[in-house]
Each structure stands twice: as C-alpha cells, then as structure tokens.
C-alpha cells in the first residue's frame, strides 16, 4: 500500500541502523510515548536494530490503558441502565473495572456494542429512537476532533438521543507531568505521529526548552521510527535538543487547524484522571456548557463505589515508564491476553500485550544492568 510499503524497506532500514550505530557513543534512554510505536518497535525488531545503549522505553500513549478504573466503572454503570445502549471502541470491552467489565455487563444483559467511529454511534441513535445511545469517548488529540465533529453533526441533525462520555485526554500535559515527577530520566521522546497531525510540533517546544529533552515526531512504519531514533540520537549526542518532525508527510509545525477549531468549539480543557498517574491538570477534555445536552454524565448521573485496582497489576508503573511489562510478576503467568488482569494486556496498543505477542528481547535489561 502506498505510503506504507516504501517505509518498510529492509535495505533502507539497515542504512539507518548503521547511521544510528555510527552516531551513538553513550547510553541514552528514549521513551516512545505512543502504544502504536511500542507495537511497531517489537513487531519489526527495532530494538535489535539499534545499539543496546539506546534504550527504548514505552510510555503512556495507549488511551485504553490510561483510562482510570473509576471512569471505566462509570461506563459500566451507564451500560447497566435500562433503555441505554453503550457504544465503544472494541479494545475497551475486556478492560477490567473494579468488579466487572463492559463485556461482562453485556453477557449479563446490558446493551454494549462495538463501533468503529462515533459516526456509527450516531447512526445507531437514529435507528433506535426509543433508546439512549452513549458513546464512550476515549482517545488523544487524534480522536477528539472526530468526536467533536460527530457531536456537531448530531446537533445539526437534531439527534437528541446521542450522548458522549468524554474521557478524552491531551498528550503534552501528561508529558509534562512525567517529566516533572522526576521518576524517570529521559534523554529523548519519540512523539506521537497522529496526535501531531492535529496539534503540530509547536506544543512540544517546552520539552527541549525547559527539560533539555530531545523530541522527534514519528510515523508508525519501521523506517519512520528508525529515522526518529536517528534524529534523537543526533540531538542528544550533539547536545542540541529540539523538536524535529520525522514524519513530514503527515505532520506540519502548525498541525490541522480545522480539527483544533472543532475540538475547541465542543470541548473545554479540564483536569483528567490517568491510570497510574492520577489527576493531571489541564489534560482532559470536557463538553462545553453549550453542548451539555450531549454530555452522558449530566444526563445520567451515576453514583459509584470507590474504585478497586486489579491486585498485583503494575500497569500504572508500565504507563509511567518506570517498569517494563516483563518486570511484572503476573506477566505471562497469571496475566495473559486470554485472561488479562490489567488494561495494558487487553489493549491492542498496551505495552504488556506487545511484549507478550512479540516476545521480549533482553536488550533493555542488559541496558539496565549497565547503568
């Protein structure tokens, strides 16, 4: 497929890998923010292509994984209400909440349906006028504009039985929270490509400026990721951290202005609760007052027990990058893709799922023992 196959060429990958090896002189740690990057890195064996002294650590960029248990409990409680259809992306179904999951609620009679787009949920609302259709809106800046556009469409078409539980989150604020925590020392960040299609490169400028951490915005094919690693190694080795766009076929400095306009029209920035991290200021999107009638939380207030986290699961540490999945005692034993304990093993972008699926090379551990 065009714009995909060309970026998987093994000769070009070798060229980049050689260049990275030539540039790299010391141990550095890079974080790939995005779960999609974690999967591509393991799937294409990118860790084996770069020198062991370049460590790649996965970050919080999996929207399913970072959804707080309390928010998941809310979605499950909404699904159990009579006359309600809850719609969600497929990955959310099996994520364990405090006592149940959306899938379990469905098995017990709740009407929970998987959709590919918020647009499908609107169609479902139109086809089921006697029901209330709630869309569980998770995602980062990539997805939030699509949900905003869908809400605007529902308003235009006067679809009154469509509502959104907005759990959307913003990426630069959580990067700031990770860097401020001081829990993990990073030399560079592989920034999320499709988030950046929307927000551009400007919002990352504070990272090299205030923290001295290098940034490269990356696409999702193996050559894109290798190119980003190359840009980061060059910045780190040269002592010149900045923000480079290594995905220039998709990302511009200014991003997609129209998408941001629609997002700003419908949502306002507020605090958000991240699994493993807690409340991060200004990192979430709530529906604005004018769009209150689409707000599932306003329409159906539910009261919940305090959330209970899955016992022994270290998803929170994995999300913050302080632990790798294979350091979790449950990994591959009590926790597998068939019987996941935490969301990082459920989601197709979760780090635990990626490590489990593609096997875990000992490179990163070797790095740990060296530092």
């Amino acid at each position: 497929m065009k714009f995909i196959d060309e970026y998987q060429d093994s000769r070009l990958a070798k060229g980049l890998a050689d260049q990275i090896a030539r540039r790299s002189t010391r141990s550095i740690r890079l974080m790939e923010f995005c779960g999609g990057h974690t999967h591509a890195i393991l799937r294409y064996g990118i860790r084996q292509l770069v020198p062991a002294r370049v460590e790649l650590r996965s970050g919080p960029g999996c929207p399913v994984c970072v959804t707080a248990t309390a928010d998941l409990d809310k979605a499950i409680a909404l699904a159990r209400l009579p006359g309600v259809i809850v719609t969600t992306f497929g990955d959310m179904m099996r994520v364990p909440g405090s006592a149940s999951s959306l899938q379990q609620a469905k098995a017990e009679g709740a009407d929970v349906r998987i959709v590919y787009s918020a647009l499908d949920a609107i169609e479902m609302a139109r086809a089921n006028p006697e029901k209330e259709v709630i869309f569980v809106g998770i995602g980062f800046e990539t997805t939030a504009p699509t949900i905003a556009a869908s809400i605007l469409k529902a308003r235009r078409e006067e679809t009154t039985n469509f509502r959104v539980l907005s759990l959307n989150k913003l990426t630069p604020p959580v990067m700031k929270a990770l860097l401020d925590s001081g829990e993990i020392q990073l030399d560079g960040i592989i920034c999320p490509g499709h988030v950046s299609v929307v927000i551009g490169s400007a919002p990352y400028a504070f990272i090299p400026r205030d923290y001295g951490v290098a940034c490269a915005i990356s696409g999702f094919e193996p050559l894109d990721i290798l190119l980003s690693v190359d840009r980061l190694v060059e910045q780190v080795e040269g002592g010149t951290p900045g923000v480079e766009i290594a995905y220039s076929r998709g990302v511009t400095a200014d991003g997609n202005r129209k998408a941001r306009e629609l997002m700003d029209e419908v949502f306002e920035v507020g605090d958000a609760n991240w699994r493993g991290i807690g409340i991060v200021p200004d990192s979430g999107l709530a529906l604005r007052e004018e769009y209150g009638r689409f707000d599932a939380e306003k329409a159906f207030p539910v009261s919940l027990q305090p959330p209970r986290e899955p016992q022994g699961c270290r998803c929170g540490d994995v999300i913050r990058g302080t632990t790798t999945p294979s350091d979790c005692e449950l990994f591959g034993k009590l926790c597998t893709p068939e019987r996941p304990v935490g969301p990082c093993m459920v989601s197709s972008e979760g780090a635990c799922a990626a490590y489990h699926q593609y096997g875990y090379p000992d490179i990163s551990q070797g790095f740990e023992s060296k530092t």
Binding site: K2, L16, P63, F89, L119, F140, T142, P145, E349
Partner: protein
Amino acid sequence: MCLAVPVRIVSIAGDEAETEIAGVRRRVSIALTPEAKVGDYVLLHTGYAIGVVDEAEAEETLRLLQEIADLSEVH
C-alpha cells in the same frame, strides 16, 4: 487507537469522500480536512480524514533514506 491509514480519495460529495485502498472502498468524512481533493491521500482515523498526506514530503524523506543507505554501503 491512534492508528490512521493512508487512503486515496476517489470522489467527494459535500463533506464526505469515497476513498479506496488496496481495492477496499469506504466512505469517509472530510469535515476535518476541507482542503482535501480528489486524488489526494488522506489519513483515515475512526471514520474521519484527519490530515492530507504531503506527497512531496513523502518523496523527499525516501530520497534522504536512500542517501543514508548509499552512504552506509560505502562505509
């Protein structure tokens, strides 16, 4: 979650486009990319085009990667 695939626009009607990739056709909203034209590749994410692929930049990147590979074979 943030997966987005490049698909080619075949036709446009209002803020919807018919797209094609590897023989698969799909209707996509271009409400977020009003500048998209027939023949453009757009990045499709959850039913919406979220950006237009810059073909000149794509070629430039590949040219750069070729150069790096050529150089590394000389080394």
